[in-house]
Symmetry: C2
Subunit: 227 residues, 2 copies
């Protein structure tokens, strides 16, 4: 039986595409595209820095997720020929820092705690941005630990990133359920040896590589049905 | 001075988006989207298998590029709700095997040979698919070697992938010019320590991470202007 339920943060507990609404008010007609391309580039940058130097002591090209998020925003605005001045960049990043949680994030964490589970976040996010978004969404009382890949300077899906959960909690691999809405994260965690719940809000097909997730549901709340 | 000019294959010498025309004839109105999403997924899959196990002896999750190309096609068709039967898959993959070279690929390689340069391909592609596409475009006489990451079972931008050029030729790092249309490949090669020419056919901004390329041009032919 599971003792630790570990959640991915961005896209899983917090809605990264909610950025599209603010982006739309700043760049009418382009908000949704910007949010999608921004997210894609952000992930791409994490992969490039880690793949290009997968040294277990940390990649020499590592930059904090916050910094990569700014860089990817700048790239996408250039590509879309949108004028990103400093004020606009700050406005978008301020909102990113306080991304909205999905409506069931708090209640699911709370109920898992009531069931006696340990709970955690395991995220690519840097320490400070994770603390901010957890605080602003009032999730702190329901999380035992917030674990960031900053400690190893290797982004997911590097095996060292998932290993952090084993280092942070006194649990075995098969006592962890890892919850992510990102199919690539589900693939990586499963290859590492964790059981996985894939939150598939949009009804997408799963990837054509890797192991199928152990569980799948169209909302975070469905995680509770396992217990 | 450079002694070896090494080219990325897919997207650089061979036009991956030319697949869109055949895809459009099979799935009217969806060809271009399919070609773009297919390419993106293909690259994503290379990254996931390499990041998830960057073992210098080769990733245990490695699959040949040909296989990942099929898997990514299947994914994208599911996602776009397109009916990909076996005959259609074979038709698309047959054309992928014989992708069209850009109009200046052959003449540029030929002129570099006339200048006394060594020439090579360094590609994520598997051996057999590279041989086929090189043959069908008549490039073989103008290439000293076709180098594939298959030998290390780690995809670009793993440093071991670029190292293959040093192993295959008796040249030093600073005697190699690496040519790629893929900005991420330019970033990876530059981090590895190679000089880079970025073929920027679409006039895109460069990435916001990594080193700027040493050279940039809107076609392969511009490589010749260096000499």
């Amino acid at each position: 039986m599971y003792k630790l339920i570990a959640f991915d943060a961005y896209g899983t507990l917090f809605d990264v595409y909610s950025m599209g609404q603010l982006a739309e008010s700043i760049f009418p007609g382009q908000g949704e595209s910007l949010a999608i391309m921004w997210r894609d580039r952000q992930i791409e940058y994490t992969r490039l820095v880690t793949m290009s130097d997968p040294n277990p002591a940390g990649s020499q090209y590592y930059l904090p997720f916050w910094e990569l998020t700014i860089r990817s925003l700048r790239y996408v605005c250039k590509r879309m020929k949108l004028d990103l001045n400093t004020a606009t960049e700050n406005r978008l990043m301020d909102q990113y820092a306080k991304l909205t949680a999905f409506e069931d994030s708090l209640s699911v964490l709370k109920q898992l705690k009531e069931l006696g589970m340990a709970t955690a976040i395991l995220s690519n996010g840097s320490r400070e941005m994770l603390e901010t978004v957890v605080q602003s969404n009032h999730l702190k009382p329901y999380l035992d630990q917030v674990v960031t890949v900053e400690e190893v300077k290797l982004f997911k899906t590097a095996p060292q990133s998932y290993q952090l959960l084993l280092d942070a909690f006194s649990v075995k691999k098969d006592e962890i359920l890892f919850v992510s809405s990102n199919a690539w994260d589900a693939v990586g965690a499963s290859w590492f040896g964790l059981d996985v719940f894939w939150v598939n809000r949009q009804g997408l097909p799963f990837e054509e590589i890797g192991n199928k997730p152990n569980f799948e549901g169209n909302s975070l709340s469905k995680v509770l049905e396992i217990f």
